[in-house]
């Protein structure tokens, strides 16, 4: 990254957490299309996060292949045919797993940081 961008004090999406963010978003907001998901993530992050909106599409396809989300065709605000994504039961379970993993990881890191200081 260029130094200029760093001044904005935004972070990239932590590696491997985009899936978690998407699953959580669908869990709280219900079915929505790609653009809404991307916007919602940005809004919740309140400009702390630098998200390439395009990067959510490969993630969505990956999640669908895993059977964690399903798609339905719907119509966007611009009257275009787009996919609406929603959480499956397996996805809901996976979300719990990912949340637990994340909490474990952060707790571990936190403990190290405490020990260091």
């Amino acid at each position: 990254m260029l130094a200029g961008n760093m001044s904005e004090n935004k972070t990239d999406v932590p590696y491997g957490t985009l899936d978690l963010l998407i699953l959580k978003t669908l869990d709280t907001m219900g079915p929505m299309h790609g653009y809404r998901i991307a916007r919602r993530i940005e809004q919740v992050a309140e400009n702390l996060l630098r998200l390439n909106q395009g990067s959510i599409y490969p993630a969505l396809i990956r999640l669908e292949e895993q059977g964690w989300i399903r798609t339905q065709w719907g119509v966007s605000e611009t009257k275009r045919k787009v996919k609406f994504y929603s959480l499956t039961r397996a996805g809901a379970k996976q979300l719990n797993v990912e949340v637990a993993n994340w909490e474990r990881a952060t707790a571990l890191v936190a403990r190290f940081l405490e020990a260091e200081s």
């Binding site: 299309h33 599409y57 292949e65 611009t78 275009r80 787009v82």
Partner: protein
């Protein structure tokens, strides 16, 4: 990775285009919405579009990212690894050649051996419902099998609630005119039911019809496929032709399908017509095969047969004689053959194991040098599974190439071995590489893959890869060396087992070959004839022929002495009879040989007492008999007959042609030294000789002693016989040396097979040892250099390496010797006058293996001694 996921990805391969289109649409919709949002926020349309694109990120990059993710990555990885594996083999052709060669040898030998195991032991007989096929015997005493008599056979045949088909068979041979010299063909006389027993129908024409085995029927013949091909050139109109056997014309009614019957000794089949004179219960001459009715078990058949036996008490006076029914398959494969095959298969499996060990060793050695590469790949993010996958794929490439080469090796081995072993295998054994065998080869490849691939993979990947970046640069890794040493110890152990087995078998074979046959072996040639009933209808005609042919032979060039006899030494004696003494209830079972007056002289069997046969012992003269020492011993111990000469005994002797046996009183006139009648390993048996002139036979053998190389005299012998009877073919021309050779074939073949495998195993173990030591020396160059710089002499370095080798060999020997004790039970039954624990053979195996070990260690050791400390220390210091 769950199944659904995997299937989804696979399907994705086929719907890439559609997915790309869908994605395109979603991106467009996304950008439109982002633009609208930006305009709503107050940006100009121009700026809004730019902002939307900026927020989205690189579109092409994203698409690429997506494509990569949805493709079936493991397929791509596999293909990449395969390519990589091939490339890495091509970079190291020496390694590739050695490993593929080892695997080809191991897999090839195993596949060839499996073909034999499968054909002889595993596969059901190539006939419909083979479990219904049986053989029927008389048992004169329990456990003893004998042929049956005509009338008993006919009694059996009437049990048609049990047997769907029942047939007697009797081997024959017939003269067939070809060019200048007539040849003899083997055939069989069989009941009309015979082919129903086997469930075989003719390929062309038909087999025998009911009634064709009754007296007065037109003479007909069925040909084997191979005879049809060789003699009639596969003529489709062969049924219109006649076949002249022994000068008599036979109508060809059918040709059998190709297959089992081509491996039978018989080339043609004729109906067995039972002459009225043969309808008796004295002549035990018929072999009987049958097919049980469907649903009838062999136990039911046995029960029925024993009740039949009980009902025949009045006509069969011998109390102990019973009837036996055995599965046909069981009798085709004798115990010796079964054990020999298992032994050879065990040996070849050991060879495959050793080959695998060697390959694993080579891969490990290569792996050690690749630790750096692996560590680098791990550091760059390759998962452990991915690394193991790559190594396994490389092993797979090796194993597949080795397997393919192995199948070629198996084909060549079978091609070379089939004619050699065919005589020892049953006629139903079809030695060809079919799908079953290829399936076995595939299994072998899988097993080899696991053995050679998994261990090195785990070894390489589980090692602390992070540390190997440093470690590999400096020298050996201790754990890899330990594994490789263990493998070599295993190889040495397996080789010792094989060498030991081979040593025992060779010692046994040597003992067998030293057995005194009791007859002259060198400069003797033998051949068989069969006087056709058409040309020799009376006993007088046969006797005239005997005298004339011996007379003529004796004046043939190079011939010293000539004689005639029924049965040759070492080949077994067909006739067995009871000798009875007046006033004594017990009788003595002896083998009976009909010989002419010159037989003992020709084979140089010395007379112990009394006289041999003379020309005066002819038909009409008082019947006489000569017995061997063994018979004399029995007579003296059992019947208190201290001097048998001059004593008169009773015996049943067969008449000429179909004339059955009749009781005769004969006088014992001489005792001769034992000749080995039943084979070198068979115990001596009591034998009674009677003059051929008094008991003439049609199927006699000629025995000729020559002055020089016996085969060179053959043309003179043929000419002499032709002068007496131009239509009489000579069959089975063999020198006595060949006869002896054939009699120990069953001992010789497994011995040489195991010996060859032992040699290969020892060679492979030596190679493995060499590999480990050479690698160790390379890795320890620095250490050796330092030691030499500190004053160690080359001799010390050599002895260090040799000690290293010997320590492995000695542990291997200990393990191997323990293994040989486990083999004792298998080997014991195959050994002749050698204990399975024979210390000499074991010591020999150990010494041999140690020598091989030292030889293998010598090159690396001397290379270690030539290490120049200066160079090494400067190189790596």
């Amino acid at each position: 990775m769950n199944l659904r996921f995997a299937v989804g990805r696979l399907l994705a391969l086929f719907r890439n285009r559609r997915l790309d289109g869908e994605l395109e649409g979603e991106i467009l919709a996304h950008l439109e919405m982002a633009e609208l949002n930006a305009i709503a926020a107050g940006l100009s349309p121009e700026e809004a579009r730019r902002e939307a694109r900026r927020g989205f990120g690189g579109i092409e990059q994203m698409k690429e990212n997506h494509r990569e993710q949805r493709s079936v990555r493991w397929v791509e990885n596999l293909l990449r690894d395969l390519r990589y594996g091939m490339a890495s083999l091509a970079r190291d052709p020496g390694f590739a050649a050695v490993t593929i060669g080892l695997l080809a040898l191991g897999i090839g030998a195993n596949t060839a051996m499996f073909t034999i195991v499968d054909a002889v032991l595993l596969r059901p007989l190539p006939f419909p419902e083979p479990e219904r096929m049986v053989r029927l015997w008389e048992t004169p005493t329990p456990g003893h099998h004998n042929n049956t008599t005509t009338l008993t056979f006919l009694d059996w045949k009437r049990q048609d609630t049990i047997f769907e088909a029942l047939s007697a068979e009797e081997p024959v041979s017939a003269a067939v005119a070809t060019g200048a010299d007539p040849v003899r063909l083997s055939g069989k006389l069989v009941s009309a039911d015979y082919f129903n027993v086997f469930g075989v129908t003719a390929r062309i024409g038909r087999t025998f019809a009911l009634g064709e085995d009754q007296p007065g029927a037109t003479p007909v013949v069925v040909l084997s496929y191979s005879l049809w091909q060789t003699r009639f050139g596969g003529d489709p109109d062969v049924l219109k032709r006649d076949f002249v056997l022994d000068g008599e014309s036979h109508r060809i009614i059918g040709v059998l399908p190709a297959g089992s019957f081509d491996r039978d000794e018989a080339r043609f089949w004729q109906p067995l017509i039972l002459a009225p004179i043969q309808l008796n219960r004295n002549q035990h001459w018929l072999q009987v095969v049958g097919r049980l009715r469907s649903g009838v078990s062999i136990e039911q058949a046995r029960a029925k047969m024993s009740s039949l036996r009980a009902s025949l008490g009045a006509v069969i006076p011998q109390k102990k004689l019973g009837f036996a029914v055995d599965p046909f398959a069981q009798l085709l494969v004798g115990d010796t053959l079964r054990r020999s095959i298992y032994l050879a298969f065990g040996a070849v499996l050991l060879v495959l194991l050793i080959a695998c060990a060697n390959v694993a060793n080579l891969v490990l050695a290569k792996g050690a040098t690749r630790r750096k590469e692996m560590a680098l790949r791990a550091a760059l993010g390759a998962g452990r599974g991915r690394l193991i996958g790559q190594l396994l794929t490389e092993s797979l490439v090796l194993c597949l190439l080795g397997g393919m080469a192995g199948i070629a090796v198996a084909y060549l081995l079978l091609h070379a071995a089939a004619p050699l072993v065919a005589a020892s295998l049953p006629f139903t054994a079809d030695l060809s590489l079919d799908l079953r065998v290829l399936g076995f080869a595939a299994l072998a490849v899988m097993a080899v893959l696991i053995l050679t691939g998994l261990l090195p993979s785990l070894q390489t990947s589980f090692g602390k890869l992070s540390s190997s970046l440093n470690q590999a640069a400096r020298g050996s890794s201790a754990s890899s060396a330990a594994v490789r040493r263990t493998i070599v110890i295993g190889e040495v152990a397996a080789s010792v087992v094989l060498i030991c087995g081979a040593a025992l078998l060779f010692k046994s074979l040597a003992k067998l070959e030293q057995v005194d046959a009791g007859v002259r072996i060198d400069h003797v040639i033998t051949m068989s004839t069969d006087l056709p009933s058409t040309a020799y209808p009376t006993p007088e005609s046969a006797t005239t022929f005997y005298e004339a042919v011996v007379q003529r032979l004796r004046s043939a060039p190079g011939v010293e002495q000539a004689a005639l006899s029924l049965d040759l030494p070492l080949q077994g004696t067909r006739w067995g009879e009871w000798i009875s003494l007046a006033g004594v209830k017990e009788a003595l079972l002896v083998r009976v040989k009909m010989v002419d007056p010159w037989y003992f002289a020709t084979l140089q069997i010395p007379l112990e007492s009394g006289r041999g046969f003379e020309e005066r012992d002819r038909a009409g003269a008082p019947p006489v008999m000569v017995i061997n020492q063994e018979a004399a011993r029995f007579l003296s111990s059992r019947f208190d007959m201290a001097n048998p000469i001059g004593r008169v005994v009773g015996i049943h002797l067969p008449g000429y042609g179909p004339i059955p046996e009749s009781p005769v009183s004969v006088q014992i006139v001489g005792v001769i030294r034992n000749e080995r009648t039943g084979g070198l390993h068979a115990p001596e048996e009591p034998v009674a000789y009677v003059p051929l002139a008094q008991v003439p036979r049609q199927d006699v053998s000629l025995v000729v002693r020559t002055r020089s190389e016996p085969l060179a005299a053959m043309s003179g012998i043929r000419e002499a016989v032709r002068q007496i009877d131009p239509h009489l073919p000579l069959g089975e021309v063999r020198t006595m040396e060949q006869v002896k050779e054939r009699s120990i074939l069953w001992e010789k073949q497994p011995t040489w097979v195991v010996g060859a495998f032992a040699g290969v195993a020892a060679l492979m173990a030596a190679l493995g040892l060499y590999g480990v030591l050479a690698h160790a020396v390379t890795q320890q160059r620095r250490e050796i250099g330092i030691r030499m710089a500190l004053g160690a002499r080359p001799g010390d370095v050599v002895s260090h390496t040799l000690r290293n080798a010997l320590s492995m060999v000695i542990v291997g020997l200990a393990v191997g010797l323990a293994g040989t004790f486990a083999l004792t039970r298998v080997l014991k039954s195959l050994l002749f006058e050698v204990s399975a624990l024979d210390p000499v053979a074991h010591a020999l195996a150990c010494v041999l293996m140690t020598l091989i070990g030292i030889l293998a260690a010598w090159i690396p050791a001397s290379r270690a001694a030539r290490v120049d400390p200066m160079t090494v220390l400067r190189d790596e210091g």
